[in-house]
């Protein structure tokens, strides 16, 4: 007879690496990669650049959680035709999708408010920002590293622990290194690989 929940045999309430509906890191899972919080109202465009899945959205939402401000995300297609919100601190996700004219208008308003705009973007927006008189700071999210992945995976496994149970699942540095190699710079792909890894541990019981 199969166990009702095979993950319980490892002391877990399920696979620790299931996808969450909300974007960003869950409480207690934020990995501090040494990036400072942005100043508010500083006539600044702070660009967070990185590949897809590198953690731009997570970083923006973490900052918003710490210091407040408005967050908005730009979808592809017609939905991107709206003026970005400007506030003393505002977070624009997928900012490279903003039409150039609307971007220039919003950045001009940021100069006069004054505001700090934190933009998650795949493209460099500094040209437009400098033209309207904003300072620009660009942060490239660090590549996925073995130590960071190990820390994050350990947090996720601990969060899935059943009450009063010992967890029998741990990621070795060698396994983490393999996953980092497969995932490239994408945390999202790393999470998928970790989910498969955890499922395989269960199936081998």
């Amino acid at each position: 007879m199969s166990p009702i929940d095979p993950y319980a045999a490892l002391g877990l309430a399920g696979n620790p690496f299931v996808a969450t509906a909300e974007a960003g890191a869950a409480a207690g899972e934020w990995i501090d990669r040494g990036l400072a919080l942005p100043p508010v109202g500083d006539r600044l465009l702070l660009q967070i650049m990185g590949e897809m899945g590198a953690g731009k959205t997570t970083h923006l939402l973490h900052c918003q959680g710490q210091i407040g401000g408005i967050y908005c995300c730009y979808p592809a297609g017609l939905g991107r035709w709206r003026v970005p919100p400007v506030a003393p601190i505002a977070f624009w996700d997928e900012a490279d999708r903003i039409p150039r004219s609307l971007l220039a208008l919003a950045l001009w308003r940021a100069v006069h408010l004054p505001a700090t705009i934190v933009a998650g973007t795949h493209a460099d927006l500094s040209g437009t920002a400098l033209q309207v008189g904003l300072r620009v700071q660009t942060i490239y999210l660090p590549k996925l590293e073995v130590e960071t992945l190990l820390l994050w995976a350990t947090q996720r496994i601990a969060a899935a622990r059943l009450p009063d149970k010992t967890v029998h699942l741990s990621l070795t540095p060698a396994e983490a290194a393999q996953i980092v190699e497969l995932a490239g710079a994408s945390w999202r792909k790393a999470a998928v690989h970790l989910h498969v890894w955890a499922a395989k541990q269960v199936s081998q019981l």
Partner: protein
């Protein structure tokens, strides 16, 4: 079986699970992706042509202005990438049109549908030439695969992943010269411990028979047929 790593798929559309047609020989499935549709072809062609026109116009403009405007380098790079993508789409479209002009859609006849766990079934693949006969010997190979497909919205993106969980490779068969219909016969076996088909909006367990035709002078053509496996184990 050594399990492969999960594959990120570009928002893959899994083949529709069609209801087969009951015929004297069994159950007939058609590869719907290969069914010629004038409307779909016209839309695709228009899209590819417009894409290429825009990309090449910007590329040419960038090249013309690069001596006087250093920013034109960015235009050249971006439009160059778009033009490359456009050429790849155009090549794929031409191949699709060539294949559709040479062949009727691939068909699969299975002796049983839906299938049950632990069940064996004869399968016969056929693909007729629209005219003429094969000029060179060819090969047909097939494999039965079972895979998980998931789709998720994370951050601001929607991504899909697949993970193969089981496969059965069928023997390769030769196709002689001078025939007007490519045919392949084999037997598939659904494992007793296998997983039945499952379909939800963002999560699927799919069974597919993938047939590849290697015709000299033509790129390898593949037909995919989704099979349904019900949650029943044969005695």
């Amino acid at each position: 079986m050594v399990q492969p790593q999960p594959q990120s798929v570009a928002y893959r559309q899994i083949p529709k699970l069609e209801q087969p047609q009951r015929i004297a020989e069994g159950f007939l499935l058609t590869d719907l992706e290969q069914v010629w549709s004038w409307r779909k072809s016209i839309y695709r062609s228009l899209f590819v042509v417009i894409w290429n026109i825009i990309a090449f116009v910007y590329l040419v403009s960038g090249v013309r202005n690069v001596a006087t405007d250093r920013g034109a380098i960015i235009t050249i790079v971006i439009s160059g990438l778009l033009a490359l993508g456009g050429l790849m789409m155009l090549a794929k479209l031409i191949i699709q049109i060539l294949l559709a002009s040479r062949f009727f859609p691939g068909e699969l006849v299975v002796s049983r549908f839906p299938l049950r766990l632990g069940e064996a079934s004869q399968v016969r693949y056929r693909r007729r030439l629209r005219r003429g006969q094969t000029q060179k010997p060819a090969q047909i190979s097939a494999q039965l695969v079972c895979y998980e497909w998931i789709r998720c919205q994370q951050g601001t993106d929607v991504q899909a992943f697949t993970q193969k969980i089981w496969e059965q490779a069928l023997p390769v068969q030769a196709v002689p010269v001078g025939i007007s219909k490519l045919e392949y016969e084999g037997q598939i076996q659904i494992p007793r411990q296998g997983t039945p088909s499952f379909e939800a909006n963002d999560n699927c367990i799919c069974w597919e028979l993938q047939v590849a035709v290697d015709l000299p002078g033509l790129l390898i053509d593949a037909s995919t047929f989704r099979l349904r496996v019900v949650p029943e184990v044969v005695a």
